[in-house]
């Protein structure tokens, strides 16, 4: 029991102080018929044995350390400066809890304030919260804000079909008890099609930027139409793309949400990631989740504290609009350290590398017999390829050459059977891209 430090002598002294003869006596109140059940668990193990076991399990996975990876679809293999992980491994950060006691938590609080600042800058919004669980739940929480802004009188939510399928599913899970009319994503729909669905019952319209298919759509005039209908315009944005493309703020967004994983967080089979949430100043008091604000201490020193607390569940209880307690503290810290290290210039460069490499790959694949690339709209670092046979077949062949291929879009979009979504980042060398193209050429 390496993490339980008690000696027999100490146990005896403690029991004597309590006034019971054995530890078992402390559990008398538990119904005896159910007390001390057997546990069908393995024998205790040592660190040596367990790391060997976990090592073996980890090696049974096809991961980005061993394979060239061209799969994104909501989780991205980007460069992470070493310093990020070293900061995350500081026990002062990762073994602290929610900063309820600000005098002992200024490190966490100031880091969150810096996170909020960088997210505001990236999105072109006035403010951001301390984060949500992931991009999907950020979108679900945006729906709640839009309903509140619409004074719960507007019940229609328009979601673009090119928002990540999981995000749309999570939004429906969250709101299944609220009798909402969630529309727009049943069949393919253009931005104009979505705008045509706006009416007096619409609380919000959400689009993806870039779309799940990697594209940057023409959004001119959309914000005006949404606002004319009295609804909110919500962007689901990839933060890496925001280093290159116009900010959602410039395009008239009211709320910007998204997945912060591209900002220095490892793939980790889907989590933990971090959902960011930013908005215009006028909606700040309606948003859920932790928010850190600047203040002074009793000596007049600048300091940070959780603020607007009366919105939250522990105070408002059944009147709270969300039950969220925590943020994704450590993952928000990862994004903060990452954005600090990459900075203004590194972020732009990384985004441009993604763009150039993806376009190089798309150009090469476009020339292959049997394949076609959707170049109807500008794209960032993901693009759609129509394949001459099933994506499953193609990916199996790629895997044999040490390549993890694209995402099979037919899984979510029936009209995109035999279409794959390829992702290229700054981590993919020209050699890897050429190998991908060469392998595809043989598969026509």
């Amino acid at each position: 029991m390496s993490f339980i430090p008690h000696t027999d002598a100490e146990r005896q002294q403690m029991l004597a102080a309590i006034g019971v003869p054995t530890i078992e006596d402390l559990f008398d109140v538990v119904p005896s018929a159910y007390r001390f059940p057997s546990l069908n668990l393995p024998e205790p193990g040592s660190e040596i044995e367990i790391m060997a076991e976990l090592q073996a399990m980890s090696e049974a996975n096809d991961h980005a350390g061993d394979f060239a990876i061209f799969r994104g679809a909501g989780a991205y293999h980007h460069f992470v400066p070493s310093a990020v992980n070293h900061m995350l491994l500081r026990g002062e950060f990762y073994t602290a809890y929610t900063p309820y006691q600000p005098e002992m938590s200024q490190g966490t609080l100031q880091a969150i304030f810096e996170f909020q600042s960088m997210i505001s800058a990236l999105t072109g919004m006035d403010a951001a919260n301390a984060s949500h669980y992931d991009g999907a739940t950020s979108l679900a929480e945006a729906v709640t804000v839009a309903l509140e802004v619409g004074r719960r009188k507007r019940n229609k939510i328009i979601l673009s079909p090119t928002i990540h399928p999981d995000y749309r599913a999570v939004t429906r899970t969250y709101h299944q008890g609220q009798n909402l009319n969630i529309v727009g994503d049943e069949t393919p729909a253009s931005v104009d099609d979505l705008a045509a669905m706006l009416d007096g019952d619409t609380a919000m319209l959400a689009i993806a930027y870039p779309t799940f298919l990697g594209q940057i759509e023409n959004l001119a005039g959309l914000a005006e139409k949404v606002h004319q209908a009295g609804a909110l315009l919500v962007f689901v944005a990839n933060p890496m793309a925001l280093a290159l493309f116009k900010s959602p703020g410039e395009l008239g967004a009211d709320i910007v949400v998204g997945e912060g994983q591209p900002l220095g967080i490892p793939l980790s089979y889907g989590g933990p990631y971090v959902g960011y949430f930013a908005c215009k100043q006028e909606y700040v008091r309606k948003i859920a989740g932790r928010i850190v604000g600047e203040t002074r201490d009793s000596d007049g020193k600048r300091a940070y504290v959780m603020t607007l607390r009366p919105r939250e569940q522990d105070i408002r209880r059944d009147k709270a609009t969300s039950n969220i307690c925590t943020n994704q503290g450590l993952m928000a810290l990862a994004a903060t350290v990452y954005l600090a290290m990459m900075g203004k210039h590194g972020m732009r460069k990384a985004a441009e590398l993604c763009y150039h490499k993806a376009h190089y790959a798309a150009d090469q694949i476009y020339r292959l017999h049997g394949f076609s690339v959707d170049r109807s709209k500008p794209f960032f670092n993901e693009f759609v390829v129509r394949c001459p046979r099933s994506v499953t077949d193609i990916n199996a062949a790629l895997l044999e050459r040490g390549i993890i291929g694209g995402y099979d879009l037919g899984r979510d979009y029936p009209h995109l059977k035999n279409h794959m979504l390829l992702c290229v980042t700054e981590m993919n060398s020209r050699y890897e891209i050429d190998s991908l193209v060469d392998t595809l050429r043989d598969l026509k």
Binding site: I23, F27, L41, G65, A169, T173, F245, K246, Y269, I404
Partner: protein, 508 residues
């Protein structure tokens, strides 16, 4: 001691990383779509590292000192957990890797599902929920779905004791149901008379009940079996808030008591780090009744093994007889709660922890309860104790003294900081005035507990002899007490853009 903001330590043009030049021909950028400013920091690597190290040192943490924060289970987070989660085969595994290529991760998740179900006496579990609050939402949505599926749509009320975590009533509202609050009796148990009356009054409208076991007061409810029976008898389902599971490992299995669903907090009970407020994992366990409604996808073993082993991996996990794992949505699932499959990095850490303890897991709860009762016994008579009986893994005292009007629980909390100890949870549970909820956890040794006891006694003396020592505390922290009203009124939530009303001076 203040640390400048990261934006205040940069210089125009400075970079913290070097990125390679493009190794492919570049493509023209679409000018009309580009942004022209990007207001991010401009700092070097050393500056950034020093900045974040300095920030870290302004935190209290488990690695630094005692952290008896009730209801949060601030136990030691074994370092091996961190190494395990960072193994390249886990950390660099894409969530949409074909299932054949992620058998190791799926095997780990499957085993963890099984262990969690076993530990709490359930038939199945789902690792999807990202936090306790999300586990609660999952549980209440499952209860709702169960009634709807059984054409029982009028069951819309959830009973919640007044000692509950705030997340419980907030969850009920979020799920579109209504809260019926129940009082506690003088011993801190659910008032059984009131419970029976509520069940009689709401009868076939009762969807279920949420209850924390042991309660948020740190007490095991002596009437728990009766409570479960009463609610089941009127057709409701029982939800257990598993926040306090650290006192029940190998002591009692909630599923055997009759609970239908509960959430685990892997970041409390199973030692995954709190991370300054997340990430966590709020896995849920259920009995047969609710199994079809679990949030998904969950990991299952499928019979068909024809596409199984990679020949290369035969020497590790993928032996020819290894089961074949797949992700699957349960048939009546309430749906997805987050993208992909949950906080996998937390699953790895909890797996490592449970695997290390194995059948010794019972020792965790035995010692958590021993430690709490030891402090309780030693502080008896020093602080008012509203429920003076054997406690579970935590207990509540009142942070005030007769005749000393100026001293409150908050002052005791702040004074503890001067002794290098994180305060207990204060002002919760709401039903105890000036509450201080103390949870030592099993990983603290007797010397640490004795020091805490001494400090608490000293503070009790100070309260009577020199109360301003408490009301002006803390004295040695990086900052003193904060003006929280100013924070909420001025609302400076970022320094980019700098709000026009912000006063940006550090004021040091």
């Amino acid at each position: 001691m203040t640390e400048p903001l990261i934006y205040e330590i940069g210089s125009t043009g400075r970079m913290g990383v070097r990125l390679p030049a493009p190794d492919v021909p570049t493509s023209p950028l679409p000018d009309d779509l580009l942004r022209h400013e990007l207001d991010l920091p401009e700092v070097g690597e050393l500056q950034a590292v020093r900045h974040f190290v300095n920030l870290s040192q302004m935190n209290h943490s488990i690695d630094k000192g005692f952290y008896p924060l009730g209801s949060c289970t601030m136990k030691y987070n074994p370092k091996v957990n961190e190494d395990a989660a960072r193994l390249p085969g886990f950390a660099q595994l894409h969530p949409l890797t074909d299932e054949d290529g992620s058998q190791g991760a799926l095997a780990l998740m499957f085993q963890l599902q099984e262990w969690l179900a076993e530990i709490a006496g359930f038939s199945a579990s789902s690792l999807v929920p990202a936090a306790g609050a999300q586990g609660e939402l999952a549980g209440i949505l499952m209860i709702r779905a169960y009634h709807l599926h059984h054409s029982d749509a009028k069951r819309t009320k959830i009973l919640v004791p007044n000692s509950a975590h705030g997340t419980n009533p907030a969850t009920v509202t979020m799920a579109g149901l209504q809260v019926v609050e129940l009082p506690s009796d003088a011993d801190g148990n659910v008032d059984l008379v009131a419970l029976r009356a509520a069940c009689a009054e709401h009868g076939d409208e009762v969807a279920g009940m949420m209850i924390t076991v042991p309660s948020t007061l740190g007490l095991f409810d002596a009437g728990i079996i009766e409570i479960i029976n009463v609610v089941h008898a009127c057709g409701g389902l029982m939800y257990m808030d598993g926040a306090n599971m650290n006192s029940l490992l190998g002591i009692v299995k909630p599923g055997q008591l009759g609970f239908d669903v509960m959430h685990y907090n892997l970041h409390k009970t199973f030692s995954t780090p709190h991370g300054g407020g997340g990430p966590g994992c709020g896995a849920v366990g259920v009995n047969e009744k609710l199994k079809p409604y679990l949030p998904g996808p969950v990991v299952v073993i499928v019979e068909d093994k024809s596409n199984g082993a990679h020949p290369d991996d035969a020497d590790t996990l993928m032996l020819d007889d290894a089961p074949l794992y797949r992700l699957q949505m349960p048939e009546q699932s309430i749906g997805r709660l987050k993208a992909f499959w949950g906080n996998f990095g937390m699953h790895v850490r909890a797996y490592a922890y449970i695997r290390m303890y194995g059948t010794d897991l019972r020792e965790v709860s035995r010692h958590a309860v021993l430690n709490a009762n030891y402090i309780r016994a030693k502080l008896r008579g020093v602080y008012p104790m509203p429920y003076d009986r054997v406690c579970a893994h935590e207990f509540v005292i009142e942070g005030h003294f007769p005749g000393v009007d100026s001293v409150h629980a908050l002052d005791i909390s702040k004074r503890l900081m001067d002794y290098g100890i994180h305060p207990p949870t204060n002002y919760f549970p709401l039903i105890v005035p000036e509450a201080l909820l103390i949870e030592p956890t099993e990983t603290e040794d007797k010397a640490t507990l004795d020091n805490f006891i001494d400090v608490m006694r000293k503070i009790a003396d100070e309260a009577k002899t020199d109360p301003t020592l408490l009301t002006s505390a803390p004295h040695i922290t990086p900052v003193k007490r904060l003006d929280e009203v100013r924070a909420a009124k001025q609302l400076v939530l970022c320094c980019r853009p700098i709000p026009e009303w912000a006063d940006t001076q550090a004021g040091d």
